[in-house]
């Protein structure tokens, strides 16, 4: 249960940064945090109390596996999600670098030329 609460809190904290912070880097960090929160949530959704990891490396696990391991699918999904999060962050950072090189500031107020 704590995992759920923590992960949702993480998502919300990340979002808070996105909504409130006026510094571009902080917004990117917020997005990252949000990603992490989502990942934690996914993992914890797949968790089953008292089970082991879904790696069938001992004979014992070969029979009746589904009563002995946790759900492997969320873990597979989270692997993908993490990589995607990394990719987004990388692109975001490169955009931020370019922005900084143009205006020498990271304040969001300087980046409001396109509007209305």
């Amino acid at each position: 249960m704590a995992f759920f609460v923590a992960s949702i809190l993480l998502i919300l904290i990340g979002l808070y940064a996105v909504l409130v912070k006026r510094n571009i880097m902080k917004i990117v960090i917020g997005l990252s945090l949000m990603d992490t929160g989502v990942n934690v949530l996914i993992i914890s959704l797949g968790f089953i109390r008292g089970r082991t990891a879904p790696i069938v490396n001992v004979k014992d696990l070969l029979v009746n596996t589904s009563s002995k391991v946790v759900d492997p699918l969320p873990q597979a999904l989270v692997l993908t999600a993490i990589v995607i999060g990394v990719a987004v962050t990388a692109v975001a950072l490169s955009i931020v670098m370019l922005m900084y090189s143009k205006k020498n500031t990271l304040e969001i107020d300087e980046y409001k030329e396109l509007k209305w």
Partner: protein, 230 residues
């Protein structure tokens, strides 16, 4: 004002998220389609690591997409930063001798360790992505420690592209000889819990490992090298 409004929004959003998650009791068994993966995974793929079976075979297409995403990120980053006149804010200090010496020692070990991780991806925790990341961390270590360390960018991107293409080619091989894209029945599945087992899964994971490793290395190199010294 803005903060309070944001907080109010977030509390409401949190309420809805909590409402949804509360429908799924924590840590309680509820199998869906993954019961098939767990119960039939060994029989169908012979890979000990069920997560790997899912990632590379059952949902291999996702992984192909994932590799693409990473490739995309690296390309986009290189593309954007290619003409960047980015400058460093602070002067960069050279690393100390200890750091230099230690990193030189760790560099081959780390690469070896990374390779181990992705070669054993179908048996143990870890896999192509994890191994690739470890390799990239080795490169990053060197980059941080040495001003003079210049990975061969051209070679990196060539190898990375080849690794990516081989993933797709394995997929096509499955389509041609195995009946469907990324099918895991074109080479013998082998024995359970052996290094040479699980059909094409280790091959793909090796490709992924190389790809991710070279990709992330290139990515880090791009980011660091585009920053011009004052």
């Amino acid at each position: 004002m803005r903060k309070w409004l944001a907080l109010a929004f977030l509390i409401l959003l949190g309420f809805f998220l909590a409402k949804i998650t509360s429908a799924f009791p924590f840590g309680v068994e509820s199998w869906g389609v993954s019961k098939h993966y767990v119960d039939k995974g060994i029989e169908e793929n012979r890979g000990s690591n069920l997560v790997t079976s899912i990632v590379v075979n059952y949902r291999g297409f996702d992984t192909l997409g994932e590799v693409t995403v990473l490739f995309l990120a690296a390309t986009a980053l290189a593309f954007l930063l290619a003409t960047c006149r980015c400058r460093r804010r602070y002067e960069r200090w050279e690393a100390s001798l200890i750091v230099k010496a230690a990193s030189e020692t760790l560099y081959p070990l780390l690469i070896l360790f990374g390779a181990y991780i992705f070669i054993h991806g179908h048996l143990t925790p870890g896999g192509g992505f994890q191994g690739g990341t470890v390799i990239a961390s080795a490169v990053m270590l060197m980059l941080l420690a040495h001003f003079t360390f210049h990975p061969n960018h051209k070679a990196l991107s060539t190898l990375e592209g080849l690794a990516g293409m081989s993933f797709v080619l394995i997929g096509f091989a499955g389509l041609i000889w195995g009946g469907s894209f990324l099918a895991n029945n074109i080479i013998p599945l082998g024995q359970w819990n052996r290094l040479f087992s699980a059909g094409v899964i280790p091959l793909i994971y090796v490709a992924v490992g190389f790809k991710v490793g070279f990709e992330l290395s290139g990515l880090i190199t791009d980011m660091m090298k585009t920053i011009k010294e004052e």
